[in-house]
Amino acid sequence: MYLRLIAAALCLAAPLSAQSTEAVTEPKLLSHFPLGGQQGTTFDLKVSGAALQGTHAVWFEGGELSASILKLEKLQAASEEKDKEPEDYLGKEVKADHRAVLRVRVPKTASLGLHLFRMVTPRGLSNALGLQVVSDPIISETARPHQTAEDSQYLSVPAVVNGRLSEKGQRDFYAFRVSRGEELLFAVRSDLGPSRTYQAQAGITLYQRSDSWFDPSRVVRLAVSGPALSWEPFQRYERTRSTGRFALFQRISHRFEAPGRYFLSVGTFTGTGDPNHGYQIRIVRGRSSAPRQVLGKLAHPDPGDWLERDSATLRQLGSFQRPLEADRLALLHYRSGRAPFNGKPSAPAESVSSQGNSSGPSSDHASRIETAPEVEPNNSFDRPGTVKIPGLIEGRIQTPGDIDLFRFRAEAGQKLAFEIETPEDSLPHFNPWLKLLDGSGNELVSNIYMEYGGDGDDVNKTVERKTVFTIEQTGSYFLQIRELTSVQGGPRFRYRLLVRPQVPHLGRVEISLGVTPSLSTLIDKTDRINLEAGQAREMVVVCEKEEGFQGNVLLTVDNLPPGVQAWVSTAAGWTETLMRGIQYRPLGVEVVSPRHHRPQRSATTLVFWASPDAPITGAPRFLELKARPVVDGWVGPALPAGRIPFLAVRPAEETQVMTSRR
C-alpha cells in the first residue's frame, strides 16, 4: 500500500527547514572487492564498512542482481586502523568495523554497467557502492607480487582484470602482446570509497622495453595520444546523479606501430594504496567499443536526472553530450504545464524519459524542426549558411581556427533559445563558442556567462550549452560558432545547434542539497532515508524554471510506506546562503546579466515523517519524487524528479537490544 503526499510547493515562497545531521549510527559501506563481475556468473564479494551489525540483506537498486550474505564479521581493533577513513563530507571520522562476504549472482541478461547496491541492516540502508557488470571474462590479479615489468602478470586481450592496490606506492604491472598496427583501448576504474579523493583514482601507464645503456631491463613509458587529465562520470555513494571528477589516464587509446610485448601498470597518481583499494581494468581491441560506455556508467540511471545545462554547483555536468532529441520541442512543451492535465497520478505511458525517450509526449512540434547541414566555406558574412526557426544546424569545426556562420531571419519580440550538442567530444576539449550577431556583425549575446565564484572574488566564465535571447528588431541575424581556442578542430569537433522559440518549462529538479555546518560548502545530505518511527528527516528540493516559466511546481512523493508522510517545511536560516551559493553570486555582484544563461531557481524543503506507530518496512523501496508544472490553474504531467532509497527502521535502542540478543 502506498501513502502519498502531494506537497503543493510555490517554489519562490517555499520554506526551508533547519539543517539536519546524519545519524552517526547509519550503516556505511567503505570499500568492496572485486569491483565487478561477468554476466551469467556468481562470485564472492568482500565488503567493509561501519555499523553493519545485523545486516540481513543486500539490495541492488536496479533489481537485476542478487546476493546472499555468506559471512559478516566484526573487525578486530588492529584491523580497524587499516580501514580507517579520514573524514566524510560532514567532517566525521568513519572507521570500518565490519566485513562481509557476499555471494553475488549476475544473470546472463543483466544490463552492462554499474549496478548500485546497499546493505540492509536493522539501522537502515547503507550508502551505495557500485558493481560493474561486463560481458568479457574476468581475470583475477595474481597473488604473486607483480610490481615490476619483469614480474608482470600476462594478459590475453581482451581482458577484464580485478586487482587491488594494497600498498602505498604500488603499481601493478601487466604484460600483453600486440600485432603490428593494432589499436587497443584501456580503461580502469577504482573503488573510490566515501572519503577517497579523485587523486586516488587509478590510472594506466603503458610501457615498452627500452634497451637502456644503464639498465637493459628497464621499461619506458609510451607516449599516448589524448589528454592526460580528463573529466569522467563519477558515481559515488552519495552522488548517483550526473557529475564527474578528474581522472589521470583513466582511458587510453593507443595504436601500436611495432608488434611485440608491452606492459601496462596501474597505480594512483598520488601513490596511495591500502588493502581495500580495488580496481578494475578493461582492455579491448579497436576503436569502436569505447570502454567509457561501460566502465563507471550506471546501468540504471535515475530517470529524474534531467540535463539542461552544465552547472558545477548543481552537479549537472555533461549536458553538451545530451542528445538534442528529434522531438525536443514536444518534450519542452510537455514540461511546460500548458497542456491540460486531469490531475490524476501519472500512468507509465505518460512518463517522459529525460534522455531522449520520445514515447511520452505526443506532439507535432518535432516535425517542424528542419535540419540545416553546414556547407563549407561558411566563415564569412558574404557566404553564411542559412537556418530557419526552428532549425537544427549540424556542423563541424573542421580545422583549428575554423569559424562557421549562419544567417536567419527573426521578428521583433521573438524569444529564441539556442541549444548546443557536441556529440563526440565535450568540455573541456571541445568548447563551442556561440555568438549571436546582428545584421552588421555586432555581437548581441554569446554563450559565455560570467559570474563571481571561487572564493567570491574571482570571475568565472562558463561556456553555456543553452543561451536565450529576445529579438528587438525584425531583420537578419547571424550565428557564429567556433571552438573557444584557436588550436583545436577536426573530425571529433562536431556540433548540433538547435535554434528554436523559447518554451517556458520546468527544468531540472535537484534534490538532496544542503550546506555544511560552516555554511561554506554545498553537500549532499540525503542519498537515502532511514527513518525511525516518530522521527522526521528533511530534504531540500531546488526547482529550475526555464525560459520564463512563471508557474508553480507541485511536488509529489509516490511510494511512501504506511505511516510515513511528506510535508513542506518552513524556510531555514541558511536558505539564503544556499541559494546565493547556487546562484554563484555570494557577493551579489553580477558581471553579466543572468537572464540569457540562468534559470530562475527556488528551493523548498520536504520533511518526511514517520508516525510513532509506523511499521518498519522489511524491504527497501524508492520514494519517487515527481514534479508537476502548474500554470494558469492547469496541473501538468508528473515529471520524474528523482528517487530516494527508503527504509523505515526500529528506534536505535530497540535495534541495539535486538542485535545483542542475536
Binding site: K168, T270, T313, G454, V487
Partner: protein
C-alpha cells in the same frame, strides 16, 4: 642505524686519505724559460683615416705583434710621421687633428719595423650635422650625467631626469628645455616647469652652472668652464637649443670598439678606439667622447680617455658608453706568456673558438680527460646518472677509438636522458603544483614536457606551443598560476627571460636603469598577454585557457582598468608591439600570443639563449652568465662561439640532442678537470673542466645508486612514489617534501629557479649524521649487504665501491692504503661502511668533474 661520528677514527682516516689521494693528484706543467719577446710586425689602426668637418680629430693606434704571440700597444713609443706635415697636428698619444685638406700618409717606426696608413682630410669648413642625441647627449654620457647612479636613475636626481645614455633624446630634451619635476608614474611634471637652459642668458643656464659648481650640485663638478664640452653646450644654447636634426644621414647606426678582445702582459696598456658609423657611411671618432668602465678593476683599470692598464692576472670586460649605444670588449691579463700551444687537436668548431682564445690569451689547456673522468662526467651531464660499475669496466677496457662518440649517442638515446632533461626543463618551465594551481595540472604540464623531450621535439616547436598555449592541455597550465590567469606584466618578463635570455622586469615601472629597455617596450610586449582568459568549467578549478578579445575580467574589487594592459606612466591602453615598436599585423590581432611566439622563436636571441643555457648546464656557467641575463654590460666570454653555436642550432632545427652532442663531442668539453699551474686561475676560458656540484636531486639519486637503497618519496596525500622512483623522475616534485633536497638547494619553482648551489653548514652536518648518508649505508638489501652476502674480499669491495661512486678504479696507492686499513679493522662490516661513507661524502663524489 650507524651514526657517523666526526671523531670516528677509521672514517676520519679514510676521509683524509681520500681527499689527499683524489684531489692532490693535479699535474704541474713545467714552464719554459722564455727569452724576451721580439717585435715581429707593426700596424696602424685605422688603416685608412678619414677626417672631415670642423676641427676633426682621430685617435690613431700603433700596434706591434711580438714573438710571444701578443700584440702590444706601441702608440706613443715613437712619433707618427706625416707625409705632409702641414695636413695635421700629431699628439703625443697618437691623436691626429686635421689642419688642411688633402691626402697623405701616416707612418710609424718602432725598432726597425714600420707601418703606414692613409690619411684623407676634406670638407674642413663644413660643420657636421647637429644631433641632439649625439652632440648634447654624448656630452651628458661622457660626463656621467645620465648614468644610472645620477640623473638616469629610476626617479632621476633632484627632480631632473635623463634617459640612460641618452637612449630617449626627446624626453631628455623636454626635461632640459621645458624643465619640470619628473614623476615615475606620470607624464606630468610634479611642479611648475622651469627650463634648465636660459636662452636669453645662456651662461646662466642651470645646465652649465650646476656641473661647473657655480651652483651647488650633488653630483660634484662634471664640467670645467671653458672646456670643449662646455663650449659645445653653450654654443647649442646660444643657437636656440634646437632639437631637430636637419640631416638624417648624420644618424649613428652603430658604434664599434677596437680592440674587441685584447691580452695584456703584466705591464701592458692599450688605448682603445671608439668609432661611430653614420648612416651615410662616414665614421666619427668618439674615443674622447665616450665613458669607460672596467667590470673588474682588479684586472684592468681604464682612464677617462680610454687607456686600459693591466693590474693582475685575469679577465674582465671593458664597458664603453656613448650616447644611445653601449659596447664592450674583453681584456685578459697574463702573468707570463707561453710559447707553445698545448691544446689538443680540435674536434669541431667549438674547439676552434675556445682553443683560439686560449692561444690568444696565452692560457695553456689541460690535457684530455681520462676515459674514467669523461665517462662519469658525460653520464652525469646527459643523464644525471652514475654509470654502473660494469659499464665503467667495459668502457675503460674498450679500445674502440670512437668509444666516446658512441657513448654520447647511447646516452642521448637512453630513457635516463629523457628523465633528466624532463627534470631540467620541468624546472625551467616551473612544473610544480604550487605554480600551476594543483598537482593534477602540474602532472599534465610535466607530461607535456616529458613527451617533448622523449620525442626530441624541436625546441622551437616547444616554445611556440608553450607561448601560444590554449585549451586544457599541459602547457596552458603555465598561464594559470594559482588557478587564475597570470598577469601580463608578470608572465611576459618570464617568457622573455626563459626564451630570449633578457631580464626586463625593471622596465615595468621605469626605463631599465642599466640597459636599453624602455618602459614603452616593456608594456608593448606585455600587451601580447593582455587577452589571456579562462573558462571555469567544473567549478573545481578546472579551466580552459583562451585569448579573449574582451580580456580578463576584473576580480571583485578590481577596476576594469587594472586588468587591462595600461601603461603606468602614459595611462593609455597599450597595444601589442614588438621591441622595435612594430605593431601586430592585422591578421594576428585575434591571436596575440601566437604572434609573440612567432616573433620570439624567429629572433636571433632565441637560439643564442638556448645554446647558452645548454652550455651552462654542461660547463656550470654560460658563455653569458647568468644564462638568462644577456645585456650589454654582461657580454659573452666567447661571442663568436656563441654566434656559431646559435647558427648551428638554427641549422639543425633547434634539436636539443644535437646541441648536446655538438658540445659533448668537443675536446673543450672533454678536457681534464685537473688544472695546470698556468691555467689554475682561469675560470672563464675552459682551459680545463671546472668541477661543478651535483644538483640536489642528482646527488640524492647518486647516493641511492651507490648504496643500492632507493629513496622513499612520501607525499602529503598519504601516498608515495612507486619504489625505485628517483628524485629526477618525480613528476610533481613539490608534493614530495624532502629535507635532503631542501638542504641541498631544491628551488620552490614559484619563480624561475636560480640554482647556483653553495655549501652550507647543514649539509656538512648532514653528511656526518644525516640519515640519507648513514641509514642507506647500513640498510639491509643494499650494496654493502650484497657484497657481504657474496663474501667479497677487501680488494673487491674497494674496487666495486670506487667504480660505483667515482666511476674509476682505485689507484694502486689508494688500493694498498685502504686494504691495509681495512685489514686492521676488527669489524669488517663497519669498516666497509666507513669506506662507503668516506666515498659518498668526498668532494670527488659530490662534484661532476
Amino acid at each position: 642505524m650507524v651514526l657517523r661520528q666526526p671523531g670516528h677514527s677509521i672514517a676520519k682516516f679514510l676521509a683524509i686519505l681520500l681527499i689527499c689521494l683524489v684531489w692532490n693528484s693535479g699535474w704541474v706543467r713545467g714552464q719554459d724559460t722564455a727569452a724576451p719577446p721580439t717585435l715581429l710586425s707593426l700596424r696602424i689602426v685605422p688603416e685608412d683615416i678619414h677626417l672631415s668637418g670642423l676641427n676633426p680629430s682621430q685617435q690613431v693606434l700603433v700596434l706591434g705583434r711580438y714573438s710571444d704571440g701578443l700584440e702590444r700597444d706601441l702608440t706613443g713609443a715613437s712619433p707618427l710621421l706625416l707625409g705632409s706635415a702641414e695636413m695635421a697636428a700629431v699628439g703625443k698619444q697618437g691623436q691626429l687633428t686635421a689642419l688642411a685638406e688633402g691626402n697623405t700618409t701616416v707612418q710609424a717606426l718602432v725598432a726597425n719595423r714600420s707601418a703606414t696608413a692613409g690619411l684623407t682630410v676634406q670638407s674642413l669648413k663644413t660643420p657636421p650635422p647637429f644631433s641632439f642625441q649625439h652632440d648634447i647627449g654624448g656630452i651628458l654620457t661622457k660626463r656621467g650625467c645620465n648614468d644610472s647612479s645620477c640623473h638616469a636613475g629610476v626617479k632621476g636626481r633632484g627632480g631632473f631626469k635623463l634617459s640612460l645614455n641618452a637612449l630617449d633624446p626627446k624626453e631628455d630634451y623636454r626635461w632640459i628645455v621645458k624643465g619640470g619635476i619628473y614623476q615615475v608614474m606620470s607624464l606630468e611634471s610634479a611642479g611648475p616647469e622651469s627650463p634648465r637652459i636660459d636662452l636669453s642668458q645662456p651662461e646662466n643656464s642651470l645646465l652649465l652652472r650646476k656641473p661647473t659648481l657655480l651652483l651647488p650640485h650633488g653630483g660634484g663638478e662634471r664640467l670645467t668652464a671653458g672646456s670643449s664640452d662646455y663650449r659645445t653646450l653653450l654654443d647649442w644654447i646660444q643657437s636656440g637649443a634646437p632639437y631637430e636634426r636637419r640631416d638624417s644621414e648624420a644618424e649613428v647606426e652603430r658604434v664599434t670598439l677596437f680592440p674587441e678582445e685584447r691580452v695584456l702582459d703584466a705591464e701592458g696598456t692599450q688605448q682603445v678606439l671608439v668609432t661611430a658609423h653614420l648612416a651615410d657611411g662616414r665614421t666619427r671618432d668618439l674615443t674622447h667622447q665616450a665613458s669607460y668602465q672596467s667590470s673588474n678593476e682588479e684586472v684592468v683599470t681604464v682612464t677617462d680617455s680610454g687607456r686600459v692598464r693591466a693590474r693582475t692576472t685575469g679577465e674582465t670586460t671593458l664597458i664603453v658608453r656613448t650616447a644611445g649605444h653601449t659596447v664592450s670588449a674583453r681584456f685578459g691579463v697574463v702573468s707570463e706568456p707561453f710559447h707553445a700551444d698545448p691544446s689538443p687537436p680540435p674536434h669541431n668548431f667549438i674547439d676552434d673558438f675556445v682553443f683560439g682564445k686560449l692561444s690568444r690569451f696565452q692560457i695553456p689547456a689541460s690535457p684530455l680527460s681520462s676515459d674514467a673522468e669523461f665517462l662519469r662526467r658525460v653520464c652525469l651531464d646527459l643523464t644525471g646518472t652514475l654509470p654502473p660499475p660494469g659499464r665503467v669496466r667495459e668502457f675503460i677496457a674498450s679500445r674502440d677509438p670512437r668509444k666516446r662518440t658512441k657513448l654520447i649517442d647511447a646516452l642521448l638515446d637512453s630513457p635516463e636522458y629523457v628523465d633528466y632533461w624532463t627534470f631540467r626543463f620541468g624546472r625551467l618551465f616551473r612544473v610544480a603544483a604550487g605554480a600551476v594551481g594543483g598537482a593534477e595540472h602540474a602532472y599534465t604540464y610535466w607530461r607535456w614536457v616529458w613527451e617533448n623531450i622523449a620525442q626530441n621535439n624541436s625546441y622551437r616547436e616547444i616554445a611556440l606551443e608553450r607561448l601560444a598555449a590554449q585549451g586544457y592541455g599541459g602547457p596552458s597550465r603555465h598561464f594559470l598560476s594559482y588557478g587564475e590567469e597570470a598577469k601580463a606584466a608578470d608572465i611576459m618578463p618570464e617568457e622573455v627571460r626563459v626564451f630570449l635570455g633578457r631580464r626586463l622586469d625593471c622596465a615595468q615601472c621605469h626605463d631599465h636603469p642599466y640597459e636599453q629597455w624602455s618602459q614603452d617596450q616593456f608594456w608593448g610586449l606585455a600587451s601580447f598577454f593582455g587577452q589571456i582568459s579562462r573558462t571555469e568549467w567544473t567549478g573545481f578549478g578546472a579551466s580552459v585557457l583562451f585569448d579573449d578579445p574582451a580580456g580578463r575580467q576584473p576580480d571583485f574589487g578590481e577596476s576594469a582598468e587594472t586588468v587591462k594592459v595600461i601603461h603606468p606612466r602614459r595611462k593609455h591602453l597599450v597595444k601589442p608591439a614588438f621591441l622595435n615598436g612594430q605593431a601586430i599585423a592585422s591578421e594576428g590581432i585575434g591571436h596575440p600570443r601566437r604572434e609573440f611566439a612567432r616573433w620570439v622563436t624567429e629572433h636571433p636571441y632565441f637560439a643564442e639563449t638556448l645554446v647558452n643555457r645548454m652550455w651552462g648546464y654542461l660547463f656550470g656557467r654560460g658563455l653569458v652568465d647568468p644564462v638568462d641575463d644577456f645585456r650589454s654590460t654582461n657580454p659573452p666570454t666567447h661571442p663568436d662561439l656563441l654566434k656559431a653555436l646559435a647558427e648551428d642550432c638554427r641549422r639543425n632545427g633547434y634539436d636539443l640532442k644535437q646541441v648536446l652532442r655538438r658540445i659533448t663531442r668537443s675536446r673543450t668539453y672533454q678536457l681534464a678537470s685537473t688544472p695546470s699551474e698556468s691555467n689554475r686561475q682561469d675560470t672563464l676560458n675552459y682551459s680545463h673542466f671546472i668541477p661543478k656540484p651535483l644538483e640536489a636531486e642528482v646527488l640524492l639519486d647518486a647516493i641511492s645508486q651507490v648504496t643500492g637503497v632507493p629513496e622513499i618519496f612520501e607525499n602529503g596525500q598519504g601516498g608515495q612514489a612507486p619504489p625505485g622512483t628517483r628524485a629526477i623522475q618525480l613528476e610533481v616534485p613539490d608534493i614530495y617534501p624532502s629535507d635532503f633536497l631542501q638542504m641541498y638547494g631544491r628551488p620552490n619553482l614559484l619563480q624561475i629557479p636560480d640554482i647556483k648551489a653553495s655549501p652550507s653548514l647543514n649539509q656538512a652536518l648532514h653528511m656526518l649524521v644525516g640519515k640519507t648518508y648513514t641509514e642507506k649505508i647500513s640498510r639491509k638489501g643494499g650494496r654493502l649487504d650484497r657484497l657481504i652476502q657474496e663474501d667479497a674480499s677487501h680488494g673487491e669491495v674497494i674496487q666495486e665501491l670506487y667504480l660505483a661512486a667515482l666511476s674509476r678504479f682505485p689507484s694502486s696507492l689508494e688500493l694498498a692504503e685502504l686494504e691495509s686499513t681495512l685489514r686492521n679493522s676488527s669489524d669488517k662490516r663497519r669498516a666497509w661502511e666507513d669506506l662507503m661513507w668516506s666515498l659518498i661524502t668526498s668532494r670527488e663524489f659530490a662534484f661532476n668533474h
